[in-house]
């Protein structure tokens, strides 16, 4: 994983609450056995007509969305299933961060393992971002801040370990493998 320290980009705004993983990537695309290329089917049923033509009014299909790397959405983003295909699709499309007032637990865990930054902000800050599609933002992972369009800055929570992994581009598996002695000792104590 590449280290992530700063994200500087424009936002795409998806002004819906409870964006669930079935919308992020519908289940019929889960028959893959690798993770590549899922960006094509990101938000598939909102993004394309049944025949495959892009729906012109969906946010990702508007010309101004090109190159925007931060997705801002309504409350409770990523609810539903545990499919890691959801962050795989967002990352493959090009997103680096998702901003909401609340992000579902499993989605958040999955996002962090794929270098997609889950950013939970206070309702007022998210309201400002929702009201300003295409705003230029600057996310500072070390400082845990998002620079908002009005020049103010908002803090977001992230646990120390996930932050360390993001800033240094390391993954959790290495840490777990280093615990071998403790794991073996734990197993030895049990029936």
């Amino acid at each position: 994983m590449e280290p992530i320290k700063f994200i500087e980009t424009k936002t795409v705004v998806l002004p819906r609450e409870n964006v669930d993983t079935d919308q992020i990537i519908p289940a019929r695309f889960l028959k893959v056995t690798d993770k590549k290329g899922l960006g094509k089917v990101l938000f598939c049923d909102w993004r394309y007509e049944a025949g495959g033509a892009p729906k012109p009014d969906f946010v990702l299909n508007r010309p101004e969305a090109a190159g925007c790397r931060v997705l801002v959405a309504g409350d409770n983003f990523g609810c539903g299933s545990s499919r890691e295909h959801a962050p795989w699709a967002l990352v493959d499309y090009g997103f680096q961060a998702v901003v909401s007032t609340r992000i579902a637990d499993i989605f958040r865990n999955n996002a962090l393992k794929n270098g997609l930054l889950p950013v939970v902000l206070d309702p007022e800050s998210v309201r400002k971002l929702l009201a300003a599609p295409g705003a230029q933002v600057r996310i500072d992972v070390a400082a845990q801040t998002v620079g908002l369009p009005d020049g103010s800055s908002a803090k977001f929570p992230i646990d120390a370990f996930s932050k360390y992994c993001l800033l240094n581009g390391v993954d959790e598996l290495g840490f777990l493998l280093d615990q071998e002695a403790s794991i073996a000792a734990y197993e030895a104590k049990r029936p």
Partner: protein, 473 residues
């Protein structure tokens, strides 16, 4: 000693390395269930890093999502929806063979939907930690296990280390007083709980279900209840084990036997929360006040009584709440203020890890017996064991005589990956757990309900109060 909750007891017993301000806890996993959709990339990770499966005895696999629910053809081939589904199943067989995972795949007499399969094999036991690359792993909490869904990267972590990195969640007590009335089941209760909490209301929490209405539930009912904890955003739901639990488990293939069984039960009796144990939050419901429930919208929290009316967005003061409701009703093409009963239905689906167990098949049969369905109705047992038991009671005949389809076990129209799906614009009444847009097929519209309510819709061809259908009114 400080009184502890059920959750705290199970958590504390599985901490390999405690949480610190810098690092999450290393938590040991007793049982890892694996299915074909969320595991291929995890096995790839193991191959890339040259890692082995750490504990074969704690890893158990089946297939359910991508597989057909029609029997093998005359040519001996399974009728897969497409080559990708067949390839995913073949990959699963190869991965399990290469890494030494015990697999109960297609054609195996124990195969079933992973959350039906694990408990009925006796693999899920009180006090365990259970994980699976599937959000409905919450189901196994019905046994007093701490069970939650994980992503595919974490599936790889558990395969390689039998452990996970976890931050300790908060606890939420859901206390249910009173008793469920006739014609109501655990499904109605959990739909009411999710409606009360909202789809994000349980985020960051583990739920413990408490109270007389919970104690009165069968194991099947407790599994239905815990299964949908994730629909309120809670990763896990738990019910303290009791004699109902032990009787259900006794004699199952993987349950302890003889003296080991006695010892296990003695330990399990110590699991329930201590008097005075504290929860971070608590809510209370009265089961006696509930009516059969059904959803009208595009998330599982949008539920109402089957005797109720479709809510009117105009009555919502909050702008965002109103917008969410309007979007849901637009997708569902339902009219605000209209009674939900009488709404035309095109397809009924009875099955899934929420309601695909023997008790659910019996409930459906209670309505279907001696009646005819007016619309396409799929009855899909959750596992081969459920199917065999139901057939031994003649339920398959009741279902077929009513004009409904009796299928092979699998996830089927719960997730519509295998070709069992709605056509655009169709309405279903479904006993599954998610009514998200397109969940049962692009453009499909899902109303979630209990097996009784779903079967009532099948015979009425429309949303109906199952109590009236059973009374013949």
């Amino acid at each position: 000693m400080q009184p502890k909750t059920l959750f705290e007891k199970v958590w504390d017993a599985h901490v390999v390395r405690p949480e610190t301000p810098e690092t999450p806890a290393v938590l040991y996993v007793d049982l890892h269930l694996v299915h074909e959709v969320t595991s291929p990339q995890a096995f790839t990770l193991l191959r890339e890093r040259g890692l082995k499966l750490r504990r074969t005895g704690r890893t158990l696999a089946t297939m359910d999502h991508s597989i057909p629910t029609l029997p093998r053809g005359a040519d001996g081939k399974w009728p897969f929806i497409d080559a990708m589904a067949a390839a995913q199943v073949a990959q699963m067989e190869k991965n399990c063979a290469d890494f030494g995972v015990e697999l109960h795949g297609l054609g195996d007499p124990a195969q079933g939907v992973v959350h039906v399969f694990g408990p009925e094999q006796g693999a899920t036991q009180p006090g365990m930690t259970v994980v699976c690359g599937d959000s409905h792993t919450a189901t196994h909490g019905a046994f007093g296990a701490l069970a939650f869904g994980i992503g595919t990267s974490e599936v790889g972590h558990v395969l390689a280390t039998q452990c996970l990195l976890q931050r300790r969640p908060k606890t939420l007590a859901v206390r249910v007083d009173g008793a469920l009335g006739p014609g109501l089941s655990a499904k109605d209760l959990i739909l009411a709980i999710v409606a009360k909490l909202g789809v994000g209301g349980g985020t960051g929490h583990v739920i413990e279900y408490l109270g007389p209405a919970i104690r009165a539930l069968s194991m099947e009912g407790r599994m239905t209840l815990c299964n949908m904890s994730i629909e309120a955003g809670a990763r896990a739901g738990m019910v303290a084990p009791d004699d109902v639990t032990f009787q259900w488990l006794a004699g199952r293939p993987r349950a302890p036997k003889g003296a080991a069984w006695e010892e296990a039960v003695a330990a399990w009796r110590k699991l329930p929360s201590d008097p005075g144990a504290r929860y971070d939050r608590e809510i209370v419901l009265d089961a006696s006040a509930l009516e059969p429930m059904i959803t009208f919208g595009t998330n599982p929290g949008q539920g109402i009584a089957v005797t109720g009316k479709v809510p009117d967005p105009a009555a919502e003061a909050d702008r965002q709440v109103r917008a969410t409701l309007e979007a849901a009703l637009r997708y569902m093409a339902l009219t605000p203020g209209k009674p939900i009963a009488g709404q035309k239905v095109d397809v009924v689906f009875i099955g899934s890890c929420t309601n695909g167990r023997l008790e659910d098949m019996r409930e459906a049969a209670r309505v279907l017996k001696g009646r005819r369905v007016r619309i396409r109705t799929l009855v899909v047992p959750g596992s081969h064991a459920v199917k065999r038991a139901a057939e031994a009671e003649g339920i398959d005949r009741i279902v077929r005589d009513a004009g409904a389809e009796w299928r092979e076990p699998g996830c089927s129209m719960c997730i519509a990956m295998n070709g069992d799906r709605l056509e655009p614009g169709q309405y279903s009444v479904s006993t599954s757990n998610r009514n998200f847009e397109g969940r049962q097929g692009p453009g499909g519209r899902t109303l979630l309900a209990s097996p009784l309510t779903a079967a009532a819709a099948a015979v009425a061809g429309a949303v109906a109060d199952p109590r009236r259908v059973l009374e013949g009114r």
